[in-house]
Symmetry: C2
């Protein structure tokens, strides 16, 4: 079940219904306590502690817990921030349930980039300016190659980076090395729809410095807009150490 960006009133009606039907709810650190109040008073609430940049609870253990609870005949809700199908590792949990013969349903939610865009009052797409949006991340599985951000840095594209503040310097450097102008505007929204919400409006050149100066980290969305008018020149393939 997608919990949306954090505010209790950005859950869908269906998500609330499922929460109220649940016997047990497995939730992450990113889900506000407020949201859990929508569940039944007697429902079991289990924190499975996934935090950006750390994972005290390995995914396999979470899958085992979900399956074990369902096998006891409990109605299980796995509550995820945002939308469960975007950067949510849903496949591993759905496959674990399927392998155990447990029927599942996925309830979509409001994803963080849409919530950030709403909070900023800036559309992700704009007719004649940007008509493609790329949802990407600076973080990948250990040992995997880093996604090729530059390949997606096309004119007419908005790049929406999830969980990437720690990689902001690398992202900016790789885009600039690929020919993106350092003066391109960048918007950062931290803790959207939470009391600690903060917004930063900067440029690619100043991104890392400003994030650092303002102490912006953790759960932030970084939006880089490359309008059709801006020419992205790639002089040559860029090789990056990984």
């Amino acid at each position: 079940v997608g919990a949306g960006p954090g505010a209790r009133d950005l859950l869908t009606l269906r998500a609330v219904e499922r929460l109220q039907e649940a016997d047990v709810i497995f939730y992450d650190r990113l889900v506000d306590e407020d949201v859990l109040e929508l569940a039944r008073r007697d429902a079991e609430r289990v924190f499975v502690g996934k935090v950006v940049g750390a994972s005290a609870w390995p995914q396999e253990r979470i899958c085992d817990l979900i399956v074990a609870a369902a096998r006891q005949g409990k109605r299980v809700v796995r509550l995820k921030s945002g939308d469960p199908m975007l950067f949510g590792r849903a496949t591993e949990e759905l496959e674990a349930a399927a392998a155990a013969g447990i029927p599942t349903e996925v309830v979509p939610g409001v994803t963080a980039a849409c919530a950030a865009s709403a909070a900023l009052g800036r559309s992700l797409t704009e007719r004649g300016v940007t008509d493609t949006v790329v949802f990407c991340t600076g973080r990948t599985r250990e040992g995997d190659a880093r996604p090729d951000w530059m390949a997606h840095a096309q004119a007419g594209t908005t790049l929406a980076f999830y969980m990437s503040v720690g990689q902001a310097g690398e992202i900016a450097a790789s885009l600039k090395a690929g020919g993106v102008d350092g003066s391109v505007p960048v918007l950062v929204a931290r803790d959207v729809e939470k009391p600690t919400q903060a917004v930063l409006e900067t440029t690619l050149d100043r991104l890392a410095v400003d994030l650092d100066a303002l102490g912006i980290g953790g759960c932030s969305i970084v939006l880089i807009r490359l309008p059709k008018a801006v020419r992205v020149e790639v002089a040559q393939p860029v090789s990056m150490a990984s």
Copy 2:
């Protein structure tokens, strides 16, 4: 206000609250009648008739209507399918309101690709397989260059096409000409979360033929997944007639 993919229970609690506060609601064809029942009985409901592939109501006229209603002191809701900031032409309406000194708020919603992914039970991202999702469209402003789909067709990427069934043949041809294997699996979800929901599982090679044979058109999401294992070879720049 984002109405989500169509089902009444996929509105957020905040969207329902705003609907119940509204004196007048401007809505599109894509919004189900069921959703409008969440509004006050005495609220004015105005169909502003935007349909995929046609626009009986020019955007400018919609902007004028919104501003005129707000100037009369009415609480106005502009209800959009999915999320208003993704392919919703929100900028034009927000700017018209701002120019008239009318305060606005954007309520995010569940976007169609997330809803399609949930209905299909297939995650848009998958750890170690796809870590980037591109939301794009076959339709752009008349006279604009077509988005360069091939540039985004990177291994490790899911391409989610909005409002693009009419361009499916062109999209498949341009991806294949760019080196994407014709056997790549493609999922199509039509009318997600509506009684007419239908799902098609095919390949890039068969996409256009199958869409045609099944009569799938209109409001569909096309998901093309390019896993990290699949090599995308670009032999040479592809030129396309537009």
